[in-house]
Every structure is written in C-alpha cells, then in structure tokens.
C-alpha cells in the first residue's frame, strides 16, 4: 500500500460532497469534500507500487485549471488505469457541482 499527497491552486470551495467509483479490481473510490478557498488537495491510497509518477501526471492534468472549485479528494485505488481515474474524478467533480446527481 502506498500513499501519495498532492495539492494544487484552485478557486472557490466546491458546493457539496460527492462520492464516485467502487471498491473493486481496476476501479477506484473517490471521496470528494469541499476544499479550502484557493487550494485543492488529493490524497491517494493505492494497492499498486511504483506508479507515483503516473498518478502525479494524470491528476496534475485534471487540476491544471486553477479556477476550478477547491476540493479535498481522498482516492482509494485498486489498480485503475489512467482513463478510469480521469472518468471517476470527473464524475465526482460533476456530482459536487450539482450536475451529475445520483
């Protein structure tokens, strides 16, 4: 089990909490809470060793836009591919913005 912490400049706090993804092979769980003004944080727990660089690149691209809502993400990864990571984070962000409601 590896743990990785990342943070990024962001805009105003997200509107609400959100949850996306599932516990299961090749997937991940994204728990989203509103962040503090101007800063998004991402905590990643992964069962896969040696993939910190990939995570940093994939998540960095998602949070490149510093005007996005500030969020605090906790990610529990079970060997998801970068494409699955991007979709699940996007799903959580949409849901937190009130557009991807359950």
């Amino acid at each position: 089990m590896q743990r990785l912490s990342l943070d990024y400049a962001a805009g105003a706090p997200a509107a609400r909490r959100a949850l996306a993804g599932v516990v299961g092979s090749g997937d991940l769980e994204v728990l989203l809470e509103p962040g503090t003004e101007g800063r998004s944080t991402v905590e990643i727990n992964t069962s896969v060793d040696g993939v910190n660089d990939i995570w940093t690149a994939v998540v960095g691209r998602i949070f490149a836009d510093a005007t996005q809502p500030a969020v605090a993400l906790e990610i529990n990864d079970f060997g998801a591919t970068p494409a699955v990571v991007r979709l699940r984070i996007a799903q959580a962000m949409e849901s937190a913005a009130g557009r991807g409601e359950a």
Partner: protein
Amino acid sequence: MFDYSASDNGFRPHDLVFADAVALIGPTPAWALQAVAEGAPLVVRRAPRNARGVPVGVRGESRGERHGDRVAAHAIGRRHAPEAIAQARGWRSHARRRDVPAIAALDVAADVLDSARWPWGVTGAVGYELATGHPVTHARSDLDLLLRASEPVDRAQARALQTALAAAPARCDVQIETPVGGMALADWASTARQVLIKSDTGPFLCTDPWDATSPAEVSAPDECAGARG
C-alpha cells in the same frame, strides 16, 4: 463496434487460453515468455480487436508482473471460459479452500448467482487457480466473478445480489458483462446515475449499460463520459 459477438472470434475477456510462447506477437519480456513456455495460461483482455491477434495478458509470479500481448487466434489451443470453471465446481474439493476464504466463498456465491437467471463464471486469481492448479490466491484474495447479462438487470435486483453476496467469507467482486462491455455490480447496485463501462475501446461513463448505441455517439454528451446530467 461494442458488440462482442460480432468481433471476438469466440474469445471473450477473462477467458483463459493456452498457446505456445512462440505464438506471442510481442515484444514480450523474458519472464512472460518463460511463464508461458512453462504452461501458464493467457488471460483474454479488453483491447481493440484487430487482425494482429487476440489481446491477452500474462500473469507473473509477483503482483506487479502483468504483461499485455497478442496472440494469433489459430495458435490458441485449449480454452477455459469463466462459466466452465464455475460449472466444474472445483472449489468443493480444492486443497486450499481452508486457507483461502475467496475459494470457500464460492459456496455462497454459487447459491446466489445460480438464483439469478444469467450464466456466471469465476475469473481473477481464484478462476486462474481452479483452472490451472497453480496457487496464485492468498488469504486476503478477493473473489472475482462474472455475470453475463445479455439483457438488462434492474438496479433493485443488482442491490439484492450485492447484499446476498456480502454474506460470503471473502469480498466478492462481480463484473456484469453486458453486450456493451463490463460494469461492476457494485456500481450498478449504487445510487450513482452514471456507471463506468469497460469496453474493448476503453472505459466510459453511461446511464444505460445495455444500450450499445448511446456511448458511441460522441454527439450525445448528456449520455456519456463525465458529461453533465
């Protein structure tokens, strides 16, 4: 383009197949060549189907050793489909069932899934071990299962299955295979509006996992991939 029956030569994701190491199209790392030369099966994986061969994976000794390759369909000999592994009921007399809860969990899982009306199978480490006798599971392994639902499973039924499987002595991770691709039972049993489908051409989010037309329409953003809803 997502219809497996039209594109797969009969080989479907999660099938275990056997082929000579020399039939791997490669490039193949030395450990994978050796594993296959020693009789390791290949696991059919999700990837675009093309004339270069069936997409397969090789499982190494350590968790990090996973290799994606291709093999010509005509070079494939024996095949174990996940359903065949389930029908063989090999877990009932398996020597390691006392040490590996995921193997013993098949008693509960078989009762639950037999009560659903779809064919089901055993995949992942437990399927691999039951098919080959090679001990790849451990005390904390999950039980990976597949349910082949050619027509919609309603979400209430998905929740009932998920709840019933929670009684098993190991975590059960069921993939529902629809004509469009694979989706986690846990996802379909949740309240999420969109669910994640893994298809041969990559993953996407969708509201109807049995509708093969909606995900392919990139002009229909309300249906797919991180779109608003």
